[in-house]
Amino acid sequence: MATPNQVAWQRPTIGSHAGHRARAWLRANAALLLVSPTLIFLSCFLVVPYVNMLVMSFRNPSTTSVFAPGYTIGNYTKALTDPFYLGVLAKTIAFGAVTTLVCMLIGYPVAYHLARTRARFKGLLYVCILSPLLVGVVVRCYGWIILLANNGLINNTVKQMGLAPHGLPLMYNAFGVGVGLVHVFLPFMILPILSAIQSIDPALEEAARSLGASRIGTILRVVIPLSLPGIQAGSILVFVLTISAYVIPVLLGALKFKIMATLVIQLLIDAFLWPFGAALAFILSASGAAVVYLFIRVTGPLMKGLA
């Protein structure tokens, strides 16, 4: 026997029960809903093309169409047994390592200075560091070409002064490409190191000095070990970006300096060897990942005491 009061009390609970359930579902799946736009975007434009390429790399090559029927691992065995392709791969990895090292050596002092400076124009220094990223890649490269070309500013000056009658080989080689890459990837090295150094208590440096360490000793024994996470992050970024760089090697290397990225595009676009090109692209990715993994394994133990 329900009194009118009880009925009035029950009705809204029935109505809100479904609403409550919907809210609970929303709450439980909120994370999924929030990431779904990104997930859909990535699957359409990253996962699907990657899978497509992976499948392509196992297809039979053909001279008359994109690929012949059937599947093979021949593309991989060919790439991994041919000394030419292995040579280009080794050169690419070595080139990436050297570029990373140069960025590290140039970038570290800049990052240290910027982290510790109390200058009023600190904001301006940030803009300077980011400036390579503010200029389009083509404009930036043509700027370098004006400087580095065989008849460029530097070579003309050098020739006129009689220092090197035949000019210096500044472009169409590892040096020219390296200059272009270091220029644009330097911010990716500096910024992680900068934030790592900023998180080091300046009192630690003073403590080292008070204990008898020189300025250099303090940097070597205290600042660098404590900024290793930043160095590690910056190095991985620069290395990965370098081995996969394409536009700069093409513009400043003019295809005379061959690395994996330019080679893969040549095979895909010029030679139309899609299966083999795809296989080479995956070999480059896998080698890069392997190097990064090894790097993390080697540098990890050095950061033992850090949180």
């Binding site: 208590d201 630690l204 003073e206 403590a207 000095r209 008070s210 204990l211 000793g217 404590l226 005491g305």
Partner: protein, 356 residues
């Protein structure tokens, strides 16, 4: 053993004068505290001794040798920082070994010295821990040990106990005091905590606005403050304004105040008729119902306005005839109720004249 001399030290930051013509002589094995509110220049002074601050004028001398322009690493100092500044990427052993390594001490001797200093700070067994695996108090003692193990000429401590909780801080005061007496290193200790300075120091340097206001033992500074500022900063004080009426004998004066004549002491030769402020500490005053028989005691009549019970003491605020308030700290078992007519009684020896 090193004597430390600071002469005419001055440091400006733009318009602000952080340290103004500071001179100080610290004897071998002495522990001197720089005490003052934040921004008084005590840390700048310490950092000048360490070599992290380049003074605009003046000199720092170790055993009479000018070190003013010497880099910090060449001064042979041990420094303990407020936040300890232990190297997070090194174990306790490596932290302690850092200074020894810089001094190219051999492996064996290094191990011996580390073991010895760890024993002194009671941390034996924690050699292989990283700083983040230690409690705040342990980190603090590692920082002390790191400063001591290099057997520096001068030990500099910058608010080393500020980050510890109250109970541990009190223990550490005594610990540092006995440790410093044991090793006998000339020490400068910076703090804003007056109790800490009083427990730890041989001498206290009270600083305000970059200037030294008084130098003396804890007793001297507490009982015979040089100025109203010093008296106000260290402990509670009653200030009674008046005029010198008469000089009764050597160092003894009668001061005429709105509350009646007060007999007090001063080390200075004060001319009759000059304005004077009398300082009386709250715990120097006893409350009585009737005026004392002994006419040599000072006595000011008043009425109890507030009473607070703090366990170890009972605090009173007594309103006098002219409306001024006298603070009194009595024994906790003393019972005067709010509204009682009382007499504030204190000895002339405990009333001190300051002139400004």
């Amino acid at each position: 053993m090193t004597t430390l001399t600071i002469s005419g030290l001055t440091k400006r930051y733009g318009e602000l004068v952080a340290v103004d013509d500071l001179s100080l002589e610290i004897a071998e094995g002495e522990l001197v505290s720089l005490l003052g509110p934040s921004g008084c220049g005590k840390t700048t002074t310490l950092r000048s001794i360490a070599g992290f601050v380049e003074p605009d004028a003046g000199a720092i001398l170790f055993d009479g040798v000018d070190v003013t322009t010497l880099a910090p690493e060449r001064r042979d100092i041990g420094m303990v920082f407020q936040n300890y500044a232990l190297f997070p990427h090194m174990t306790v052993r490596k932290n302690l070994g850092f200074g020894l390594e810089m001094r190219r001490i051999g492996k064996q001797q290094m191990a011996e010295r580390i073991a010895k200093v760890l024993d002194i700070v009671q941390l034996t067994g924690l050699e292989d821990r990283y700083p983040r695996q230690l409690s705040g108090g342990q980190q603090q003692r590692v920082a002390l040990a790191r400063g001591l193990v290099i057997e520096p000429r001068v030990l500099l401590l910058d608010e080393p106990l500020a980050n510890l909780d109250a109970k541990l801080r009190e223990e550490m005061r005594f610990f540092i005091r006995s440790l410093q007496k044991g090793v006998g290193i000339t020490t400068v200790y910076v703090t804003h905590d007056q109790a800490e300075a009083m427990v730890i120091s041989d001498r206290i340097v009270v600083m305000f606005d970059g200037r030294v206001r008084q130098v003396g033992s804890a007793t001297e500074i507490y009982l015979h403050p040089a100025s109203r500022e010093v008296a106000d900063f260290i402990g509670l004080s009653n200030f009674i304004e008046g005029r010198i009426k008469e000089r009764t004998e050597e160092g003894r004066y009668t001061v005429e105040t709105p509350l009646g004549d007060v007999w007090c002491r001063s080390a200075l030769a004060l001319p009759v008729g000059d304005p004077a402020t009398v300082v009386v500490r709250p715990e120097s005053i006893k409350l009585t119902r009737s005026p004392p028989n002994n006419s040599e005691l000072n006595c000011i009549a008043g009425k109890v306005r507030d009473r607070v019970y703090l366990g170890n003491i009972a605090g009173y605020r007594v309103v006098c005839a002219d409306g001024s308030v006298i603070q009194v700290q009595e024994q906790p078992w003393h019972v005067s109720a709010v509204g009682d007519e009382v007499h504030c009684v204190f000895e002339s020896d405990l009333a001190w004249i300051i002139c400004e």
